[in-house]
Symmetry: C2
DNA sequence: GCCACGGATTCTATCGTTATAGACTGCTCG
DNA sequence: CGAGCAGTCTATAACGATAGAATCCGTGGC
């Protein structure tokens, strides 16, 4: 049925190993031999059996990317970037959706599916510090996000506290005094929600604004719908608000929707800023100010770290990398005269860690 | 290093084949033996080597999904659905982005990467009827979309002409007489643009509206930015418009943006309807009317067809499946009193083909 | 003319499974 | 009481490639 190296070798009148050598670009082959082999390959339509090769070489040149859900734009765009970065290194990406299921996330780390790829880039959403033991795996692993710190794996995260603080301060700098925050998780100590909320509070302090619990709107899931609902609750409760910091763009877009449907002018009456800088943010009405967490850099770095582990180039202690993030001002904070370029404000970085050549902060 | 069946067999005091039998659920094994093997597996932390298994069984239980770009919400949501459908059948999905590159699309069909998975679900965007020869491949293939008809492969497509006609008629039924269409591809005879444009013209005819070339705004790429630009061109040219049919939601959302920034009331002055019913449509301001092409069904059907080919359950002639689509009226066409349910209008289906039990239209 | 040399090629073991065929139990049954 | 049979389990050959050692062979040194 399928044509194998055996067949090619027979037709070219050489040994199977010579075919292998040709296929793998081994240099010491007489041009005439190479030509014969290539003719045979072309004529027979031979394609190498990657499975057999993988068995022998113990490499599949595939990596797994595990994310909660591709229909969330942030993760779709992250996946896009990861796939591109991987491809640039000759790797194919297998995507695993955990769909907000704790079991699914555990499976990603322990399940049988795991061992067909060379490594895993994992963005957990349910697992937390208490699950840190699960991350002690025997394959190359790069963790993304803020759910788990200190896992025995390389980690690419973002500057949540600083970035959230910068976003909030951006609102304060516009003279907003009643800044609501949407998307908090009551009582949670870990993860993006907690960190970004802390940044929000830091900013209030720095801007000499009081912290008012009324201005905190919870939202368990960070979807547009929950953002819309949370914003609606604030407005319907008659709480005075002139600025909104949504903990991600989906929430912010939902909030814009709620504001729009209640005929509240943005940014006139309420200024809004989100977080993630998804593609949508540039095309909503009004366009949405946001924080770019450095998605491309996150993807590229994650793939690089993983590749270094896979190839064994890096065997040292686990690294933590924090790409630069920046505030991007658009219409929803009144930043951009129509048609003008977006205003970008680099987030002040904390500085105790060494800086890599390309501006990444790295800590071992 | 890695623990193999060999090791397990040694510890359990059985043959390697017996371990294999246990792992694969072969029924005739004495409970005591099974227990010993399982103890050994647990104790040694044995995990089956999928690569070796694949080499032997010639199955990888992976399929490839090739789409243009995950950062386009339609494809991200499609990927989400495909992954879920695949997972329900025990398959993992490897994603290939073609990034609008003709070469990349050719690669997907012919490239060496291809043969690590059991089959391919391919949504081409660049290849056309002239490339039909490329689709004559020796692995299971399901084609999505409207670029290529008649390829030697199963095909899941949508009812473009009818659905576009229904969308346009929806605008006409609101009394709109100057209905623009955004996203056409000049001179193109093939693909979604051509089909949906034809549906638009059919609708005009049926509604007794003249076809006015001024109302046709081209847009090569179907992005929000191009939709915004196209809408902007129409408005800035002073062309009278009271309805817009955008050939997909991204274009429509871009158009909404352009309308908003020019202070044109939607749906008061201009009613807008898109196509695809991406998640965004429910959360834009105003919410966007659209056509649901049956994305879930497309995904599920595509995976089903592919699995049938992979397992050899289906060996007959290639099938074409067209899921049902329907118009979904939202604020942008003034359909929904706030808070009420969305209005859904089933698209009239052409009827020369037999109907499957669950409402799919199938033609061999 | 013989041998060392190094490039070109072949030989053979191996990667970790599954598949096929057969061996070995006990039991039933004519 | 031996054949037949279902139930268990084992031996061994693939699956299609790669890796390292072994072999072949034309050339140049002496």
């Amino acid at each position: 049925m399928a044509v194998t190296m055996q067949d090619v070798a027979a037709r070219a009148g050489v040994s199977i190993k010579t075919v292998s050598n040709v296929v793998n670009g081994y240099p010491h082959i007489r041009p005439a031999t190479r030509a014969r082999v290539e003719e045979a390959i072309g004529h027979l339509g031979y394609r190498i059996n990657e499975t057999a090769r993988s068995l022998r070489t113990r490499r599949t040149d595939m990596i797994t990317l595990a994310v909660p859900e591709l229909s969330l734009p942030y993760f779709a765009e992250l996946a896009d970037s990861v796939i591109q970065a991987a491809e640039a290194r000759g790797l194919t990406v297998l995507i695993e959706q955990t769909s907000h299921g704790r079991d699914r996330e555990v499976d990603v780390l322990t399940g049988k599916r795991r061992n067909m790829t060379d490594g895993l880039i994992f963005s957990p959403l349910e697992l937390g510090p208490e699950d840190i033991g699960l991350f002690d795996v025997d394959f190359p692993l790069v963790v993304l996000g803020e759910r788990v710190f200190g896992a025995p794996a390389d980690h690419v995260t973002m500057n949540n506290v600083e970035a959230a603080k910068a976003a909030t301060l951006h609102l304060a700098s516009l003279g907003r005094r009643r800044i609501a925050v949407i998307g908090g998780h009551e009582g949670e100590q870990v993860g993006s929600a907690a960190l970004r909320t802390r940044g929000y509070r830091d900013a209030l302090k720095e801007a000499n604004l009081p912290y008012d619990p009324e201005l905190v709107a919870e939202a368990g899931l960070w979807h547009r719908s929950t953002g819309s609902e949370a914003m609606g609750r604030l407005l319907d409760a008659g709480i005075e608000v002139d600025g909104v910091f949504a903990l991600n763009d989906a929430l912010a877009l939902g909030a814009l929707h709620a504001l729009h449907s209640r005929r509240v002018d943005v940014p006139g009456q309420v200024a809004v800023i989100g977080f993630d800088d998804v593609d949508d943010a540039r095309y909503s009405s009004p366009t949405l100010s946001s924080v770019d967490p450095g998605r491309e850099q996150i993807a590229r770095t994650a793939v690089d770290l993983l590749v270094d582990r896979i190839t064994g180039k890096e065997t040292g202690p686990f690294r933590r990398v924090i790409p630069d993030s920046r505030v991007i001002g658009r219409e929803s904070t009144g930043d951009v005269p129509e048609g003008a370029d977006e205003k970008q404000v680099a987030v002040q970085q904390g500085g105790e860690e060494p800086i890599e050549p390309d501006g990444l902060r790295v800590s071992a």
